[in-house]
């Protein structure tokens, strides 16, 4: 029975509805965390289902859903991000009065991300992207009393809508030229189509799709919304955008380019490669001048999108493998960084300001340690997860005769060291006075747990990389048959 492929979606959508419905109920105080618990249980159940489904590729709903290992692994990454973000939001002021909607929307966004990465059809993929985008528009603006949050929501909505329009236009052209919305069908049609340069409309459709997905992945030159939205949105939501949305967008890139358009690789390789190179350069240079950690992480996420896109640009199976490994590494290092920012935000006003981190490591050495590890890993220092990821991506690039992109990536990384290490230095430098220590709260257990687990994972993913890489290899194999 092929409807088994829908199980992850069934669980997640049911949980979304349940969580939102609890908002209409008058819950006793003992159950006020019910939405969050529903979310965590649903994530755990979905995770169990994907481990059960791991193995042969399954196709369901008349080809609408492709549950191959790539889709399952990306789903796993999204689920981990979701669980972490639910934990990071535990007691978050933004969600305090609206727990049910907040958690429900998080789950809805996660459902959309999962739908995107297991799509077997353009329409399904589009619905997935829309579901995640619309949920995130609202989540960005959920602090309705805070101007910055509303501004972020609005900015994300407007730029996101443009991205959506471009995406659907690209899909329409693709459908017009190939006569099908099925990704398998498109793959066959593209393989038979010959060089795309002789088919301007097909080429245009691929370019439009790349642009639209570039919006979602915040790749240059479609990145302008990122710093403002990342800064304005509630920090757990920012963390979700940085990890979950990025994973979904990369999944879509893999499905449409590495997977479906494999036959036309020569035509789009330079296009994606240029986007990747530009993102690495612009993102790293932009991050250099930031004084706000969230903005800095926004620019860094632009740069990281560039590194990730190397894996798409090479278009090889190894490229996909490296990309997925780097996504996992990126997940843990980004979450670790955001967890510490959230921790600080709960303690002081403007806790996302770099200045407020002065001497923080001396007072909370474990938090300083996790942040330092995250920064070193993002900068690509060995022997941490980020290093192994970059190593594999550069290897994939050189393997595919794209040495130039590896060199640009290497030089851009050298620049990035400055701003990543700045955070680490500030954290361990002496505090001028402890006057700005307004609130000294008990450390929220859930946030600390996420930070510590991610900190350990940053090291563990590198030291015990082989099993993880084996998973990624299985995923990459299922993508390119």
């Amino acid at each position: 029975m092929n409807s088994i492929v829908g199980v992850p979606l069934y669980i997640m959508s049911a949980a979304t509805l349940l969580a939102i419905v609890t908002g209409a109920l008058r819950l006793p105080t003992g159950l006020r965390r019910l939405p969050e618990w529903i979310g965590l249980v649903a994530v755990a159940a979905t995770f169990a289902s994907i481990t059960f489904l791991w193995g042969e590729s399954r196709v369901g709903f008349a080809g609408e859903i492709h549950l191959n290992r790539m889709g399952l692994l990306l789903t796993g990454i999204i689920l981990l991000a979701t669980a972490a973000v639910i934990l990071l939001s535990w007691g978050e002021p933004a969600g305090a009065g609206r727990r049910a909607e907040y958690t429900g929307l998080l789950l809805a966004a996660a459902t959309g991300m999962i739908l995107t990465v297991i799509a077997g059809d353009l329409i399904v993929l589009f619905i997935g992207i829309e579901l995640l985008s619309v949920s995130l528009y609202i989540l960005c603006a959920i602090e309705v009393t805070r101007e910055r949050s509303l501004e972020a929501g609005l900015k994300y909505l407007i730029t996101g809508a443009v991205g959506t329009a471009i995406l659907i236009y690209g899909f329409a052209l693709l459908y017009g030229m190939t006569g099908t919305t099925s990704i398998d069908g498109i793959s066959r049609a593209l393989a038979e189509a010959g060089p795309l340069t002789s088919q301007p409309l097909l080429l245009a459709s691929m370019a439009l799709i790349a642009v639209a997905l570039g919006f979602k992945a915040s790749a240059v030159p479609f990145h302008h919304w990122t710093p403002d939205v990342y800064e304005g949105a509630p920090t757990p939501v920012t963390a979700f955008m940085a990890t979950g949305t990025k994973t979904a967008a990369m999944g879509a890139f893999l499905i449409l380019f590495t997977g479906a358009a494999q036959g036309a690789i020569a035509d789009w390789r330079v296009l994606i490669g240029t986007i990747a190179a530009a993102s690495m350069i612009v993102g790293n240079l932009g991050a250099l001048v930031q004084t706000n950690v969230k903005r800095m992480l926004a620019w860094s996420s632009i740069a990281q999108a560039g590194y990730l896109l190397i894996g798409v640009a090479v278009g090889t199976q190894y490229g996909a493998e490296a990309l997925v490994y780097y996504l996992i590494a990126y997940l843990v290092m980004t979450l670790a960084a955001f967890a510490i920012v959230i921790l600080r935000e709960r303690e002081v006003e403007n806790g996302d300001d770099l200045q407020s981190f002065t001497g923080y490591g001396r007072r909370r050495p474990w938090a300083g340690g996790v942040m330092t590890l995250a920064m070193l890993s993002l900068a690509g220092f060995p022997p941490l997860a980020g290093f192994i990821g970059k190593f594999m991506l550069f290897q994939a690039a050189i393997d595919a005769q794209m040495l130039w992109i590896a060199i640009i990536g290497a030089l851009a990384s050298a620049v990035s060291v400055v701003y990543y290490l700045r955070v680490a230095i500030v954290m361990w430098s002496p505090t001028p006075d402890d006057a700005h220590e307004v609130r000294r709260l008990r450390v929220p257990l859930s946030v600390a747990a996420v930070a510590l687990i991610c900190g350990v994972a940053i090291v563990a993913l590198a030291v015990f990389a082989q099993p993880v890489i084996n998973l990624c290899r299985g995923a990459a194999e299922s993508l390119i048959s």
């Binding site: 060291v417 230095i425 361990w428 082989q466």
Partner: protein, 511 residues
């Protein structure tokens, strides 16, 4: 026992343990750090005892797969080039930690932990048999050194640390790309992907690729050395770092670059090394002259020693790049000599700075009167630094200059100037601080006199100098097989007459 791996593991474990010591508990931190450093010395002595002096290959290899799907492995071992560097690293770190323990800064446990972590990086680097592992340790040592500058450095520490890190990172990331490219190109020839240096040796790359790859590696090495004109980070880093850290950087970290050249650059890319022989030799010669001149006019003693090492490293690079058996042995010997002498010189600077309250030479004079023991130690170190015949550095420089003269006599003539300058600046430092009327210090400078704990650091260093001076064969005998092996392919590439090419290389099958 995997002794070589233990060399890396023991200080690492101790460094991590130190992080959990309470920050005001100096006694425990001190005991732990010194014990860790001494155990590491003991292990390195075991490695030296077990060393087979007849073999030029990497020995006592500990091999384990790390990430086999991308060709990475944990592969540590020693050969004649690294053997003495390993011993020198453990000894100098032990002495450095003992010196640092005399006056511990705040958060001593972290300070000592970072020192040990940088030792891990250096020991790993000197023993790595896998290019990626080499890179891992190369980067690994950067972070503790940088944080030592950032947290305990002088007033301008932040800028000094950044300059140091950025310079190094540009070089090392280009090296990373070169490493991957090397393995990818070699895999087409070998049929499998590997980063093991011993497997990659002898792979033909073609002159262009070989030159570009050598340049990619060379950039990282020359920045780390540093060689003129890549020394921009040196004055700031050396003058801002805590003096123990400066000493270790000058004595050991600078050897990382030279070691890389001899261990990776020249043997893997003989054609490229041969193409770039003259340009790099010219940089080295300029460095010798330029470094000497800077040292001559340096305002502080610390910078004087720092710039002088710029000149001395130029000698060592020259010794490697002329592909002469004698010069290469001299280069390895001189790496050890320079490390010991620089460490001793910085010990003197440390004592002077502590007692006199300044490292500015013009503000101190006539100290020999109040601190005779210091004056004696200083004189011995100064004589060794200027390579007086009968000192350990003389042996090394003689080997290098002799070898260089055999190949390119004009280079030897220019390099000779550096030997003369060395006398000028070292004697200037000695004279201006020790002789003349007493100036700048209370009570004839008795505060500058060597204490027992200073002696604990300085005396072993002087004994090592004497030992090397009277019996250099003990060192050279163990290195010869390895240095010959390292430069053999380059000698063939440079079309040296067979009489000059060492026997090992003739049996080498060069593609």
């Amino acid at each position: 026992m995997p002794w070589v791996s233990l060399l890396v593991i023991v200080p690492f474990v101790v460094a991590i343990a130190l992080l959990f010591v309470k920050k005001d508990n100096h006694a425990t931190a001190r005991a732990l750090a010194i014990t860790g450093a001494l155990v590491t010395v003991a292990i390195s002595i075991v490695v030296v005892v077990l060393f087979d002096r007849t073999s030029g290959a990497l020995q006592q290899v500990d091999h384990a797969n790390w990430i086999s799907s991308i060709g990475l492995s944990w592969d540590l071992g020693v050969d004649g080039i690294s053997l003495w560097l390993v011993l020198m690293t453990t000894v100098l770190f032990a002495l450095g930690i003992i010196a640092a323990c005399r006056r511990l800064p705040d958060r001593a446990n972290v300070f000592l932990s970072l020192l040990l972590l940088s030792e891990v990086g250096l020991l790993g680097l000197f023993t790595a048999g896998d290019l990626v592992l080499f890179y891992v340790f190369w980067e690994f040592m950067l972070i503790p050194f940088a944080f030592l500058i950032w947290n305990w450095g002088g007033d301008d520490r932040r800028r000094a640390g950044y300059t140091f890190v950025i310079y190094t990172m540009v070089g090392s990331l280009v090296m990373l790309v070169s490493i991957i490219t090397t393995a990818m190109l070699a895999s087409q020839h070998l049929g499998y992907l590997t980063f093991l240096i011993r497997d990659l040796e002898g792979v033909p790359f073609g002159t262009t690729a070989s030159t570009l790859l050598f340049a990619g590696f060379g950039l990282a090495f020359l920045i780390k050395l540093p060689l003129w004109p890549f020394h921009g980070w040196l004055p700031m880093a050396y003058s801002q770092a805590p003096i123990v850290v400066t000493a270790l950087m000058a004595a050991l970290m600078s050897k990382a670059g030279v070691y890389g050249l001899l261990r990776v650059g020249v043997p893997l890319f003989p054609d490229g090394a041969n193409t770039l022989l003259i340009p790099i030799a010219i940089l080295a010669l300029v460095g010798i002259i330029y470094g000497s001149l800077l040292a001559w006019r340096a305002p502080t003693m610390r910078l004087l020693v720092g710039y002088s090492s710029l000149a001395h490293l130029g000698f060592i690079v020259l010794g490697i790049m002329v592909f002469d058996s004698m010069a290469a042995q001299g280069a390895v010997l001189q790496m050890v000599n320079h490390g010991i002498v620089v460490a001793a010189a910085f010990t003197i600077v440390m004592v002077l700075g502590r007692g006199g309250g300044t490292e500015d030479m013009d503000r101190l004079a006539g100290l020999a009167k109040g601190a005779p023991r210091l004056a004696v130690g200083f004189l011995i170190v100064a004589m060794a630094a200027l390579a007086l015949p009968g000192s350990n550095s003389f042996v090394g420089e003689f080997f290098i200059l002799g070898g260089v003269f055999r190949q390119y006599s004009w280079m030897a003539v220019i390099a000779m100037a550096g030997v003369i300058y060395a006398a000028v600046y070292m004697l200037r430092m000695y004279q201006s601080t020790m002789n003349g009327p007493v100036k700048g210090v209370p009570a004839d400078g008795r505060a500058c006199e060597l204490t027992r704990s200073d002696g604990l650091v300085l005396v072993p260093l002087i004994l090592i100098m004497v030992f090397i001076a009277v019996w250099p064969r003990a060192l050279v005998g163990a290195t010869q097989a390895s240095t010959d092996r390292a430069i053999a392919a380059a000698q063939v590439a440079a079309d040296r007459p067979t009489s000059q090419i060492t026997p090992l290389s003739i049996t080498r099958n060069r593609p």
